[in-house]
C-alpha cells in the first residue's frame, strides 16, 4: 500500500461539501483513475493527496515517508515568461538542488517526453499537446514517483489526446510510476488505468472500485475489444446507479 483515505471529509469555506467520508487505498505502482460527475470532489482528492489542502475529517495516511510528488494541472499551467527548460527546472530550483543536477534532470525529463528540441522555446510557441508534455516533464523532473493528474487532457483534441494517452501509459511502465488520474471520461479511464474508483455526485463518496490490471498492452486492439466495451458499460452503470 502507498496511501489510504479513511473517511475523508472536506467542506469548503463556502459550505460546499466536496467529499463525504471517502475511503479507498492506493497501491504502489497503480494507475488509478478517479471518475465522477463534475464537482464530485475528484480534484479535491488530488489536492488533499498533494497536501495543498487539509481534510476536515478522517485521515490520509502514507505508508512510509511521503514520496516526491509531481502535479499536472488541466491547462498545463506553465510560466509563460520562461522557456520550456526553465519551466521544467522549476521544481528542482525551488527545492534548491545543485546546478548540475538541475540541468541534467531537467534535460532527462524533457527527453522522456520527446521535447529536447524545444528546450529554448516559449510556451506560447507550442501546441496544446506539447504544452501538456512540458507539464508532465516538469512533474517528473524532481524525480517524482507519484504523478497526480487533474483532467490533464480534457482540453485537447481527440487525436492528440489518444497519442498522449499512449505516451503516458509508456511512461508509467518505464518509469515505474504511481499515477492518480482524475478524469470525467469513462473511456479514457478504462483505456489507461489498472484500477478505476468511481465517486458519486457531490458530496463525493466512493460508489464503485473496479480493478482492471489486464491486459498490460493498451492499443487500438484493446480499444475495440469486448473487454473494453464491457468495462465501459460496467463503469457507466455504476456511475448512473450512484446518481439515483
Amino acid at each position: 500500500m502507498l496511501l489510504s483515505f479513511s473517511n475523508v471529509t472536506k467542506t469548503f469555506t463556502n459550505g460546499v461539501k466536496a467529499l463525504d467520508r471517502a475511503s479507498f487505498a492506493i497501491e504502489r505502482g497503480e494507475f488509478l483513475s478517479l471518475v465522477g460527475p463534475s464537482g464530485c470532489g475528484k480534484s479535491t482528492a488530488l489536492r488533499l493527496i498533494a497536501g495543498l489542502t487539509e481534510p476536515m475529517g478522517g485521515e490520509i495516511t502514507w505508508a512510509g515517508p511521503k514520496p516526491a510528488i509531481g502535479f499536472v494541472f488541466q491547462d498545463a499551467a506553465l510560466m509563460p515568461w520562461a522557456s520550456v527548460e526553465k519551466n521544467v527546472r522549476l521544481p528542482l530550483e525551488l527545492s534548491r538542488a545543485d546546478d548540475a543536477i538541475v540541468h541534467s534532470r531537467a534535460a532527462e525529463a524533457l527527453e522522456l517526453v520527446g521535447l529536447s528540441a524545444f528546450a529554448k522555446s516559449y510556451p506560447r510557441e507550442l501546441s496544446g499537446g506539447m504544452r501538456m508534455r512540458v507539464s508532465i516533464a516538469r512533474g517528473l523532473a524532481a524525480q517524482a514517483s507519484v504523478l497526480l493528474m487533474d483532467e490533464p487532457f480534457a482540453a485537447l483534441d481527440e487525436l492528440t489526446r489518444e497519442r498522449l494517452n499512449d505516451e503516458l501509459r509508456a511512461l508509467w511502465v518505464t518509469q515505474k510510476l504511481t499515477i492518480i488520474f482524475v478524469t470525467h471520461s469513462i473511456y479514457e479511464s478504462v483505456y489507461l488505468s489498472s484500477r478505476v474508483v468511481v465517486l458519486s455526485a457531490r458530496p463525493g463518496r466512493v460508489i464503485a472500485d473496479h480493478s482492471m490490471p489486464e491486459p498490460l498492452a493498451r492499443d487500438l486492439n484493446f480499444r475495440t475489444s469486448e473487454l473494453y466495451g464491457e468495462r465501459c458499460r460496467a463503469l457507466r452503470s455504476a456511475l448512473h446507479g450512484g446518481g439515483q
Binding site: 499551467a77 522549476l90 525551488l94
Partner: protein, 262 residues
C-alpha cells in the same frame, strides 16, 4: 519595411505637412498678428534664435521628469510589493495613496514649496511630479502581483517555495506586463507633473520649459511660446516611444500583447 509600415509613417507626416502648410498660408493671407498666432516659419526662426535658452530649459525639464519617473518607479514598485505581502497593510495604506492621487497637484504645490523652502523650487517640482507619476505604477503593480496563475501558486506551494522565491520567480514576472503598462502612463504623467509644478512654483529659481513659456508669454514672444510647446511635445513623444520600445523588448518573447502574429 513593409508597405503597411511605410504607410503608418507616411500618413501622419502628410497630415502634419498639410496642416503646417495651411497654417502658414492662412497667417500670411489673413495677415494675422504675430502676437496672436505666429506662422510656423516664425516659430522655427524663434526656435533657432533662442536655441540656447530653450535647450537649457528643456534639459532642466527632462532631468526633473526622469528623476521623478525613476523615484515614482522605485516607490511604486516597493509599495506594491509591501501591499502584496499583506492585505492588512494594503487596506491600511491604499486609501491614502488614492487621496494623494485625486488631490489636484496645483493645490498642494504651494504647501510643498513652503515646506522645502522657496529657494529649492526644483526640489519641490521633483516631489510634485513624483506624486503625480507614482500612482499608476503602484496600482498596476499591485494588480499584477496578484494576477499570477492560481495553479502556479499551488505548484509553488507543492515544492515548498519561500516567500522570496514566490515573489521573484512568480509574482514579479507575472506583474511585469502590468508594470510596463503603468510605466508608460507614468512617463507621460511625470512630464505633465513637472510642467504643472513648474507653473505652480513660478519663481525665478525654476528654469524649466514651463517657466520659459510664462516668461515668453509675459514678453509677448508668442513664437517662442510655440517653440517651447513644440519642444515639450517632442519630449513627451520621445518618452512614450522609449517606454514602448522598452516594453516590447521585455515582452516580445512571451506576452500576447507584444506578439507579431495576428
Amino acid at each position: 519595411m513593409s508597405a503597411e509600415r511605410t504607410l503608418a509613417y507616411a500618413l501622419p507626416t502628410l497630415v502634419a505637412l498639410a496642416v503646417l502648410g495651411a497654417w502658414e498660408w492662412t497667417v500670411w493671407a489673413l495677415e494675422v498678428s504675430k502676437f496672436v498666432l505666429p506662422a510656423p516659419s516664425e516659430i522655427l526662426t524663434a526656435a533657432i534664435g533662442e536655441w540656447r535658452s530653450l535647450a537649457e530649459s528643456a534639459w532642466v525639464t527632462v532631468r526633473i521628469t526622469v528623476q521623478a519617473f525613476v523615484l515614482a518607479l522605485v516607490i511604486g514598485v516597493a509599495l506594491a510589493i509591501v501591499f502584496a505581502q499583506s492585505r492588512m497593510i494594503e487596506r491600511a495604506l491604499f486609501p491614502y495613496a488614492v487621496t494623494l492621487q485625486v488631490t489636484p497637484i496645483v493645490a498642494i504645490a504651494p504647501l510643498i514649496l513652503i515646506w522645502v523652502g522657496l529657494d529649492n523650487a526644483e526640489r519641490a517640482v521633483l516631489i510634485l511630479a513624483t506624486i503625480v507619476a507614482f500612482f499608476p505604477i503602484l496600482a498596476n503593480t499591485t494588480l499584477g502581483l496578484r494576477s499570477a496563475d492560481r495553479q502556479l501558486h499551488e505548484l509553488f506551494d507543492l515544492y515548498g517555495a519561500s516567500r522570496w522565491q514566490r515573489l521573484v520567480r512568480l509574482q514579479l514576472p507575472a506583474a511585469l506586463p502590468y508594470l510596463l503598462a503603468g510605466m508608460k502612463i507614468a512617463g507621460g504623467l511625470a512630464l505633465i507633473g513637472t510642467v504643472v509644478a513648474e507653473f505652480a512654483a513660478g519663481s525665478g529659481t525654476s528654469t524649466g520649459l514651463a517657466w520659459r513659456i510664462v516668461e515668453a508669454g509675459n514678453r509677448l514672444q508668442i513664437a517662442k511660446v510655440f517653440a517651447a510647446l513644440a519642444l515639450l511635445s517632442l519630449i513627451g513623444i520621445a518618452i512614450f516611444g522609449f517606454l514602448t520600445a522598452f516594453e516590447r523588448f521585455f515582452l516580445q518573447k512571451w506576452h500576447e500583447s507584444a506578439s507579431n502574429k495576428e
